[in-house]
Each structure stands twice: as C-alpha cells, then as structure tokens.
Homo-oligomer: 391 residues x 2
C-alpha cells in the first residue's frame, strides 16, 4: 500500500467523482518537425487527450502539458474499472475548477516521454524507429528542449483550429512548458498557471538532474544508448526513478512514513548486507515498478530538456523571456518543494511582475513537497476557477 | 581553482597560521576487536594525530573524530610545503579556541575510512587483508556502527592512559561519534560538541545515504565487493562522491558559483551530448579526484554505519541514548544544511535538555550548507573557547 502511495499520483478523486465520460487517447502527427536546435524529425507522432467540448468560437480551450514522469492522462478514466483517474482529476471535470462544462481541455504527451513502453502513451524519441535507418534512433535523436515540446503543442493547436488558448497550465515540467508558451507566444494564450516550477533551471537543478540520470549511464546495459536489441539498462533506470521519487517528496513525509523501520521484521540491517531499511526497499520498489513502461534514453532526453530550460530561450539573459510574458500569471508553489523551491518560484514571479504584468501567488500547504503540486492541487481549486473566469 | 574549492576542505587558515609543529601520523592497534554486532576483527590498525601535549594529570585531552569523507588530519601540516592544513586548523593551535598550549588534541582515523589508499590514512576495513584468508575482507568485513568507531577510540584512550576526555567534538559523522561518546560513556568525558549532526539517522538521511552509495553497486567492476585483484568500481565511486559533494553544499552556493555556464565556451549542451554544463563537469571532476585514494567498499560501510546511527544504540527508543547524556552540550549547526537540517539538530537538542542537561546552540552563517561546519567553524571559535574553559 505504501508503494502505491509512492507511485500512484492521483488517489484524491474517488471513482464516482472522476471526470466523465470515459477518456480516449488520441494521436496526432507532425511531418518534418524542425527542432529549435535546427534538426528535423521526419515524423513526430504524439498522443493527446481532451476533456469537455470545443465551442464554435474555438476560444474555450485550455492546454495542460505534463510533468517529467507523467503523460497526457490528466483527468478521467479509460475504463470504469481503472483504479485511479488522471493526475489532476481533482480539478478537471463538470463543475470542478477547470470546468469541462465550460472549457475544452487538451492534454498532450511530450516527445521523449518517459513512458515509451506504456500502452497509454504515444510519443516519439530515442526508442522510436528512425525512418532513415529502420532502427531505433537511440542517442542520435535530436536533443529536445522545453521549447520543442511547446512547438509540438502549437502544431496540435493548428490542427485543431484553435487560435488562442484560454489558458495554459501545468505542473513541474508542465509548468516550464507553461512559462515557455507565455514567453515565446504571448499572443497565443489569455493567461498562464505554472505550478511548482520556476523560470529557468539553475545550477542546482542542473546538477540534480544529472545525479538522477547518471545511474543510467553507469549501467553496462546502457551501451551508449544502443540497447534496443538486447537488455535494457533497467537497474540504472530504476535507480534514476528512485532518486527522483525521493527528491519529489519532502523529508517530513519520508520520515513520517517510514521512520527507521526495517524492511522485514527481525532482519537487522546492522547484521547483514542482505537486510535493509524499509524506506530503501520501498523506494527501490517504487523505482523498479516504473521500469517496464519506461525508457532509459527517454529519461536522459527529459533530463537534458529540463537542464536546458530558460523561459523563452533567450540567448543572452535569464530574464528576457520572463519579461516577455504579458498575460496574467498565477504561480502555485510550496515551500517544502526540493526541486523547485519556493524562493525560486517567488523570484520568478518578481521578475515577471517587475514590468507590470499581474502575478498572483498561491501557496500549497502539505507534507509531500514537490508532489503536492499534483496531490494537493485541489487546495488551489477555487483560486484557479476565479483566475480562469476573470475577464 | 573551482575544483579546488570543491574538494579542498581547509583553505581558511593561511600557511603561516597553521598549527605548529609539523604533524605526524601515528598508529595504534587493537587486538581481537569485538564489534557491537558481536563479530571479531583480529587486528584493528588505525591512524591518529595529536596536537599539543598531554599533561601529567592526563586530564587535558580533547578527542576529535572525523567526518564521512575525512580522516584524522584535523590540524597542522605534515610538511612545510603542504598546500593546506588539517580541516579544523582554523580553531586548533596555539592561542586558538582549541588551544594546544592548554589542551592535548587527539584525532583518530575511523575503521572503514574512505581514504583506504591515502598514504596519510591508516585504517582497517574491507580493503584490508583478512588474516584468516590472506585476501582482502571485501564485504565479509563486519558491518560497523558509529558505536564501533567510538569503541576503537576508547581503545586508544586506554593505551594513552587517559581516563576522561576534557571534551569530544566533531563535525558531521564526527558529531555522531561525539553524541555516541556522551550517550554511551557519560562518565568518560566532561563535555561534548557535536557539529552539523543530529541524534539519529532518520528515514530521509537513510534514503539519501543509499542514493549516494547505490552507483557503486551499479558499477559492473564492483562485483559484489570482490574487485581487489581487478578493476575497482571507480566510475560508481566517483558518482557517489559527486552526489555527496552536491548535497554537502547549498543550492545558493552551487547557483552562485556555476550559474548556467557551459563547461566549455561555444560547446552548447543543447547541441551535443558531448557538451555539458560547468556545474556537472566540475562535480564530476571533484568526484573523480577523490577516487584514487578512496575505496568503494569502504564507502558502502560508511554509508551503512551512518544509516545505523542512533545515539547510544538503544534497541527500543530514539531518545534513551540522548537522555543518557549528562555532560554540557554545545550544538553547532546551520539552517542551510541539507544533510543534517537545522530542525533535526534543534530537535535533538530539545530532547537532550528535556531532563535538565545544559545545551547551548550555536548557529553558523554561511553559503556553503553542510560544508560550513568545516569551512566556517571559526565563526563559533570564541563560543567553543568559552565552552571548553567553563568549570
């Protein structure tokens, strides 16, 4: 059960309250997608989900990009029997703050999505066959940026005939994409809600992303990223997922949940290397549980995309992109966050509002650290509702 | 130079101010050392250094156990030409707070010391030859606890004819040993100064120690700890040292020092996997620089010893050992510490003083996080002096 708490994101909405009707994964393709780095992906196939109905004016659409280890399943269920609903189901649905009676919500799988082997994810990345070689791209796949993710969403926007998003909102890496939308395409959205995220990756975040990713390259099965005909670097990937899981929670929660309990009664970690603490075995299990549906190279690409992030991708300044943001901004954060600390979020907001752009701050209270941006988002529900409805 | 800042601990004392005279590494041996886990090490050989002179009454001795990646070189230089002095040289010496004109300072290498291949370290651990097999112990070496480290120091104390320490003081893992002395042998010391450390390893610390250590086991050269006739798991060990280095500093310092600089001018990490950020390459270099003199199995043993730590090692309570402390306590800490956070230190002090034991708190100000317990210890110098002199 504790493992479930660790790895299941959206337990808060009971089955009866989940967004209805049942959700379907859709798919779109962008031909000859050119990255901001100047490389071309001949066929960019990606998944998306929608909740609610696009109105005739096509001005009621809200975009939700997803977090690092997430995908476009933001609300609802695929089947009645699904144990849990999408990760932000608590705020998306009929009568909920992101009210699907009013809004048409679009949630999109990113390129290089971690869940390359998840049947509910459609993505294009190193694990995808390169049409030129007939083999998986591996590390020859173009390095992607948060800006590239946003540009794929712009491609979908055009296919759907939407000229402007009513709002863009997302958590963590989804928040980075939200900043990027507002900084790069300020006339393509009405407002933006970056959640548990800040305006650029600082040295500390760059270094931790590297710490997360490094075990993959240490795993001999990684083989320079060329493992698709052999054993995948699952041990390294599990370790990467484990570190991410630990850092995405708070020390308070880790201590409160596990204390100094041993993994097995009577099996003292002081007596044998075969014994361990419960917190370690549960984190190991949480990491290992994600491996089968995930791809190690995709993890490396995601880590790099996050390291590269500066809102708007200006070449010469951390601030220019943020100053380019002119739409109203709501920043949702928590001070217990070890990945995007409250200070970094407040600092970002201070820059944005320095030229008069309205910025609202909403602080989440909780014990889960970064994860509260997913688990406790309902706390900000009425603030989000009002922000979306404001003229 | 930045690499030097990362890996060199004691830059603060200029050469002219270092403890004098030149320091010598000494050695002692404990025959048939029995661990608290009930196993026997036939020959426990360890190094130590002393500063100052033991008086006739043998009541002026101060013990300094060392931190995780440190050794007994706490003050002075081995040769005039040494670039830096011992790590706490700023407070140890003639006229300094730990005044070697008054006190006889003893600093001891722990068993399973990380620097098994450092010519200035004398230690016994998995890299040592097991007299029974004629081969290195490897992972058959007994699991060690902080209590075992303290018991080796008690062995030295007896050899030196010292009945009671005037004080025990140490940083980080040296602070854990200090708590352990006071909790387990309350009649063997007059006062105690645990620095940047708390009274037990909580789940969060247990998990992070595991994250530090895990890359070693992922390195195929680790081979279950049996690598002494082949290639050592240096890549895994370097990664372990790198993560420790990052977490021992503060986000503020990491950001301020490296920002988003690239490792090489013109080598954009967005363009090639061969390129990286400076913070990453500098941390990699800092980790790699420690590898040649360190042993990977020793790292694993140190991590486990820290995970196992509860002051006094009571079986049934986190508090009993701390309540056993009856001598005056000075706790030195910083709120920027990511390894032993200020809250954990204050919580420890609250328990100790709950039964009337005097506890003084000294907060360090700095930008280096945990490292300030080494780098900024001089800030607490006059408080330490007064605490040592109090009747």
């Amino acid at each position: 059960m504790r493992l479930k708490i660790l790895i299941t994101i959206a337990m808060m909405a009971g089955p009866a309250l989940a967004y209805e009707p049942l959700v379907e994964k859709r798919e779109f393709t962008l031909k000859n997608f050119v990255t901001r780095g100047g490389r071309t992906v001949p066929e960019m196939r990606l998944g998306y989900e929608t909740y609610g109905t696009l109105n005739d004016a096509k001005d009621n659409a809200i975009l939700i990009p997803h977090y690092f280890s997430g995908n476009s399943h933001a609300a609802g269920k695929y089947k009645e029997a699904d144990v849990s609903a999408g990760y932000w189901d608590a705020i998306i649905g009929s009568g909920k703050p992101v009210d699907t009676d009013k809004y048409f919500v679009v949630s999109v799988d990113t390129p290089v999505n971690l869940g390359a082997n998840d049947p509910n994810v459609i993505t294009t990345g190193p694990a995808t066959t390169n049409p030129k070689t007939g083999k998986p791209w591996g590390m020859d796949f173009p390095i992607m940026t948060i800006g590239d993710f946003v540009d794929t969403q712009k491609g979908l926007m055009e296919q759907l005939g939407i000229g402007k998003w009513h709002a863009v909102m997302g958590a963590s890496m989804g928040g980075l994409q939200s900043y990027e939308w507002a900084a790069r395409y300020p006339d393509k959205l009405e407002r933006v809600i970056p959640v548990i995220s800040s305006g650029w990756a600082d040295a500390n975040l760059i270094a931790w992303l590297d710490v997360w990713a490094s075990p993959i390259k240490l795993d001999p099965n990684w083989n320079g990223g060329d493992y698709y005909t052999g054993q995948a670097p699952n041990a390294g990937l599990a370790q990467a997922m484990k570190t991410l899981t630990l850092q995405a929670n708070s020390a308070e929660w880790t201590d409160g949940t596990f204390g100094r309990d041993w993994a097995s009664e009577g099996a003292d970690p002081g007596q044998s290397w075969a014994n361990d603490y419960k917190v370690v075995t549960k984190l190991n299990e949480a990491g290992a549980a994600r491996v089968a549906q995930s791809d190690a190279n995709h993890f490396l690409y995601l880590a790099r995309a996050n390291q590269l992030f500066v809102a708007g991708q200006p070449k010469d300044s951390l601030y220019k992109g943020l100053l380019n943001i002119d739409v109203p901004v709501m920043l949702i954060y928590t001070d217990e966050d070890l990945i995007f600390p409250g200070d970094a979020v407040r600092g970002t907001g201070t820059i944005i509002k320095s030229d008069g752009t309205p910025v609202e701050f909403v602080e989440l209270e909780g014990t889960r650290g970064h994860m509260d941006g997913l688990l406790s988002i309902a706390q900000a529900g009425e603030r989000i509702r009002a922000f979306l409805e404001a003229k």
